[in-house]
């Protein structure tokens, strides 16, 4: 492989184009006043549900002890293997144990190396993750690599089931972006990734006709627990 080295001729060209020889840190722009966000929690929840449904996701509201029955309604044991990410919420709620007790075949992704993980997930029938944030404004879920395997579990199987706590639902994009930005600043040394997920995978590349489930999941189910 060729030596890359310190070849920042481009940066010199940038300086020259801007008419300077040394880089000076500018005065940052003043902050932008974000639009006022809805603060009533019931209105926020309603907006979240509406927006997820608008992008063809399904929302299920249930009590914590109804979680596994709700999952089984979406994904009965005979539908195939269910993969779960390394989520604290899922282990706190003993999701794996109860699914197995109900006859499901469960793939626990903990500690599986990348290649095996990818192959196995590609064959799974559904993937269950929790989320870092949910966003009412657009019906968006934010899933991150802080939850081991969550980015792949929410991507490769044809069905994605996301478990969201009510307290994780925020009204506006600004709140979520600012939260993620703060985390990114603090975790500057780590390879942290986040995916925003808004509805199932879609394309309109053929005659602008909407087609669901091109590369990612064909179904997105959001289960909201208290």
């Amino acid at each position: 492989m060729t030596e890359v080295g310190k070849q920042d001729g481009v940066l010199d060209n940038v300086r020259r184009a801007l008419g300077r020889t040394t880089t000076v840190a500018p005065v940052p722009l003043e902050d932008f006043a974000a639009p006022r966000a809805e603060s009533d929690p019931d209105a926020v929840l309603k907006r979240f549900i509406d927006e997820v449904q608008l992008v063809r996701g399904a929302v299920h509201l249930c009590a914590s002890n109804d979680l596994v029955p709700t999952i089984l309604q979406i994904q009965p044991p005979e539908a195939g293997e269910i993969a779960i990410s390394g989520s604290h919420l899922l282990s706190d709620l003993a999701v794996e144990r109860e699914l197995v007790a109900n006859g499901c075949s469960v793939f626990n992704t903990a500690g599986v190396d990348h290649e095996k993980l990818v192959t196995r997930l590609a064959g799974a029938a559904a993937g269950i993750t929790s989320v870092d944030y949910a966003l009412a404004e657009t019906g968006t879920l934010a899933v991150s690599s802080d939850e081991p395997a969550a980015l792949l579990v929410s991507l490769l199987p044809p069905v994605h089931i996301a478990i969201v706590r009510r307290a994780q639902i925020f009204a506006s994009l600004d709140e979520v972006i600012n939260g993620l930005g703060q985390q990114a600043l603090e975790a500057r040394a780590g390879g942290r990734s986040v995916s925003f997920i808004t509805g199932p995978s879609r394309t309109s590349d053929v005659e602008l006709v909407l087609s669901i489930g091109v590369h990612g999941p064909k179904e997105l189910h959001v289960i909201v627990v208290p």
Partner: protein, 466 residues
């Protein structure tokens, strides 16, 4: 290029299938965008802010690029500065060879289209597979994309069914859902076997070294999460200062592009994944100049670097609506293409593009970062005239004559009188159908010129009639 813009436009105008596809697509996009922008409280405030952020960043590009690179490298990402497209291709080919990679999955990227990376990879016996459905179609058809965000906008479902039947040999997919399913199945295998994923980026965040990618299909998530090596090829103008700047841009981009409030997926990537847990993961960021610092050096044209590649200016452009993307002849079509192609290439090569505009201003009104496209098109036209690239000598002489007459009132009055008499003599039913000599005859070849009625404005002004 073997044909010129006029010839390519004629071909496009004579293609009734293309005309139907373009009409439907551009109208649908305009309608969806109009609806989407009503879902935010103050659209104009977002545009003003986005423009300010871009203006600030571009004016301090050296600072923000330096900050970005420090942060990417602190997260064990590798940064490569590429002056030209060849530099980019060479780096990727060398990397692929060093890692024994023989096939790469690519997600839609205008930057890699711009430098024709696929040709270079193929020549080096590395198989590039386009994974965005539209790009996959274009790659199978061996064509160039015709729209920034919907590359196969010019193709009908029937044409795509034919193409899949011929190239994939798995029968004829009839419905759109069948086409999608077949593509999913074929491309899944490519994702699982590729050794490298290549993407572009919509935004680079300087303060955190984060790469932001916006999409609907999930192929970008797969390209960046499945192969262990991720290479991003990004123009240097894509950097923005802060994470919090994203909320403005994300609100603008999807609404302007596809008319969605939010695309299905947005990926925020920081460095290689799992550096500590498992070896073999790599992230390479290639920061590409390829003509951008030339644009940066020109203060008048600098704002063309604010573009966030949403495609809104294409959809509203009366020229794009009729000739489509491929007739422009360069990778970036529409008003923004007519502005940046002559600058990224050269005025000699693409100097005819700035003339493919009616200067109606619809592009400026649609642009989420308020780029003054008509003004820059005029600037490029003037540059083309001065460098004699536009060789219509008759037109130049005529305009010089007009400029002289306009400064001499008596001559102007006489000239006006002559023109009125002359056009009336040539007119039939009040319209001049064909002028006797160039460049006037070039004009009347496609349009009629109404002969003036009544006296001159100056005569009427004197008489006090209105």
């Amino acid at each position: 290029m073997t044909t010129n813009l006029t010839e390519r436009s004629h071909a496009a105008l004579g293609d009734s299938t293309l005309q139907r596809a373009l009409g439907k697509a551009t109208n649908t996009f305009i309608e969806r965008r109009r609806e989407a922008i009503t879902s935010v409280d103050d659209w104009e405030a977002l545009r003003v802010r986005a423009r300010r952020v871009k203006e600030h960043t571009i004016n301090h590009l050296d600072h923000y690029l330096t900050q970005l690179v420090e942060n990417v490298e602190a997260q064990k990402g590798k940064v490569f500065w590429a002056q030209t497209g060849e530099d980019v291709s060479r780096y990727i080919i060398d990397l692929a060879r060093a890692r024994g990679v023989t096939s790469v999955v690519k997600s839609k990227s205008m930057a890699t289209e711009e430098i024709e990376l696929n040709h270079a990879l193929e020549a080096a016996r590395i198989v590039p597979v386009e994974t965005d459905l539209g790009e996959y179609i274009i790659q199978l058809a061996n064509e160039k994309p015709s729209h920034i965000i919907v590359p196969a906008i010019h193709k009908t479902r029937d044409q795509i069914s034919d193409l899949f039947e011929e190239k994939l040999g798995q029968g004829r997919p009839h419905e759109v859902a069948d086409i999608t399913r077949l593509a999913r199945q074929r491309l899944r295998n490519e994702f699982l076997s590729a050794g490298m994923g290549i993407t572009g980026a919509n935004f680079l965040i300087a303060e955190t070294g984060t790469l932001v990618l916006v999409e609907n299909e999930g192929n970008i998530r797969l390209s960046t999460q499945v192969p262990k090596i991720h290479v991003a090829v990004v123009g240097i103008e894509k950097v923005i200062p802060k994470y919090s700047d994203l909320s403005v841009f994300l609100r603008l981009l999807a609404r302007s592009g596809t008319g969605q409030k939010q695309t299905a997926y947005v990926s925020f990537l920081n460095g290689p994944r799992q550096v500590d847990r498992e070896p073999g993961f790599e992230f390479h960021l290639i920061l590409m100049d390829n003509g951008r610092t030339r644009i940066l050096a020109d203060e008048h044209m600098r704002e063309s670097l604010y573009c966030i590649r949403c495609g809104a200016c294409l959809n509203v452009c009366p020229v794009y609506q009729k000739i489509g993307g491929q007739a422009y002849g360069w990778i970036y079509p529409g008003p923004i293409g007519a502005v940046i192609s002559p600058q990224l290439q050269s005025l000699e090569q693409a100097g005819e593009l700035p003339f493919a505009s009616s200067l109606c201003g619809a592009c400026r009104d649609a642009c989420p970062v308020q780029i003054n496209l008509p003004d820059m098109l005029l600037g490029l036209r003037a540059a083309a005239k001065e460098s004699k690239i536009d060789k219509k000598a008759g037109e130049q002489t005529m305009m010089r004559g007009y400029a002289f007459a306009a400064r001499h009132p008596k001559l102007f009055a006489l000239g006006g009188k002559l023109m009125r008499t002359f056009t009336r003599l040539m007119a039939k039913d009040g319209q001049v159908k064909s002028a006797p000599f160039a460049p006037l005859s070039d004009w009347t070849k496609y349009r009629d010129f109404p002969a003036p009625r009544g006296g001159s404005f100056r005569a009427r002004w004197k008489k006090g009639t209105k």
